[in-house]
Amino acid sequence: MKEVDLVVIGGGPAGMAAAVKAKEKGVQDVLILERENSLGGILNQCIHNGFGLHYFGEELTGLEYAARFIDKVHRMNIPYCLETMVLNIGSDKTVTAVNSTEGVFTIKAKSIILAMGCRERTRGALNIPGTRPSGIYTAGTAQKYVNIYGYMPGKSVVILGSGDIGLIMARRLTLEGAEVKMVCELLPYSSGLTRNIVQCLDDYNIPLKLNHTVVAVHGKERLEGVTVAEVDQNRKPIPETAEFVPCDTLLLSVGLIPENELSRDAGIELDPVTSGPVVDARMETSVEGIFACGNVAHVHDLVDNVSNESELAGESAAEYILGINVPDRSETIVVKAGNGIRYTVPQLIRKQSLSRDTVKIFFRVADVYRNVRLAARCGNNILVERKRIKVTPGEMETLELKSQDLREINAGEELVIELRTDGEGH
């Protein structure tokens, strides 16, 4: 069996950043396994701009952002296998994969980084009733057809879900000559960036219908239309508001799910809210020596955050392999999503791994709130607190905690991330 120090599964931005960092930190023997025919992950179909403002300080398209990391991988001579699908990982850190040159092969790794990204939620998951014609795509699949294959999926389009991919596709299809009739969003607010609402919808007079959903699909062979209805406070469609909208294409932009089939099979503990592995502040999963980063850990809206998080995972894996700062895993602080918070990453902090000055906690709020404070609290002691005029579930939030403060917390105690109101203006 071939032996490798570090196997990185997935050659998207997460996998590349992690591999590069691990090599920089002294791991000689790194291998990236990627099932597509090029590195870059989902960025290969993101021809739009809006990437890299934070990480590179300039605005790039998705492909350009990916190209910078691909360059780094090449410059550092990090080997990678393309069109190579990982089939299985064992808790003993063996990785089984298949490709068309080597067949099925197994690698024994000292450490593994999971960077498999995520997949899109589908119609089935939403259980939209009606017929099953062609013309219904997830927004990402449509993006691939248009941007990579150079084909139009349809000419009159309704988009369900106002996530960024849906908004980006609304503009993209409009520019290519399709008529985008509306974007329906079940919630009273959009999960997309304001920037995308303005530049992808408003610029082209595409209506955004909040509190609306698709309640039925029509057409026997090709899609002929959808029924759209307004929903009440409980998100139940109001029958009197149902309206037939003729269209030949329905795009679904209704959320992403981290791709954790491999993790599940390896016995890695998953967080039911993020659908990603439970990780500590070094991005290590419940299985020692297996790390996770990027969209496989939790869905990110900005690739810049993915790169930072993945560098942390790469560095941690390097430390693990080289035997530096490897913590005793028994002493942990539990990070809890408190009032108004949907989830946090990391979900726990290992007390003895506080070798860096600060620890960043990433989290999402559960609803739109105005004039609130985001706080990290242990018992009655508030460690940090930040004011926010407005927070929304669509934007990932962070709090940076001083390691020195965290050291004071006893193992087994909870660090609660929560939303506090001033009692006014909520």
Partner: protein, 128 residues
């Protein structure tokens, strides 16, 4: 006649609703922003709104039929449709390399259209 325009600031998640009153091309007042970036944004949106356009161009003999492109700098918003016409007229020969200039000085704006991805040449490129 002064005209009112409502904008949403895109510079941060707060998304301030900004109200601008215009008299022809002159701005009379800007209200509703909570920081300087909002003010600047509103001013630019009302005088000279600009956008980066991204799309694809046809490629001959490439491993893919299209290559991704963008306007190197943002161009005036009113030129987007004409810019798309230019882009749709193009056809480039593979290989295409990231950074290649596809259209020079687009519509006299001084902005180039450049490739944002690589499309290598297809081997055995006979047939269509």
């Amino acid at each position: 006649m002064p005209e009112k325009r409502n904008l949403i600031c895109i510079n941060c998640p707060v998304g301030c609703l900004i109200e601008v009153t215009l008299d022809g091309d002159t701005i009379n007042s800007i209200k509703g922003y909570q920081c300087k970036r909002g003010l600047e944004y509103a001013r630019a949106e009302c005088t000279n709104p600009v956008r980066t356009v991204t799309s694809t161009v046809r490629v001959k003999d490439g491993i893919l039929p299209v290559a991704p492109v963008k306007t190197e700098k943002p161009i005036p918003k009113r030129l987007i449709r004409d810019c798309m016409k230019e882009i749709n007229r193009c056809c480039v020969q593979a290989p295409v390399k990231i950074g290649d200039v596809i259209v020079e000085n687009l519509l006299g704006t001084g902005v180039n259209i450049v490739a944002t991805g690589n499309v290598p040449e297809a081997h055995g490129k006979n047939g269509s």
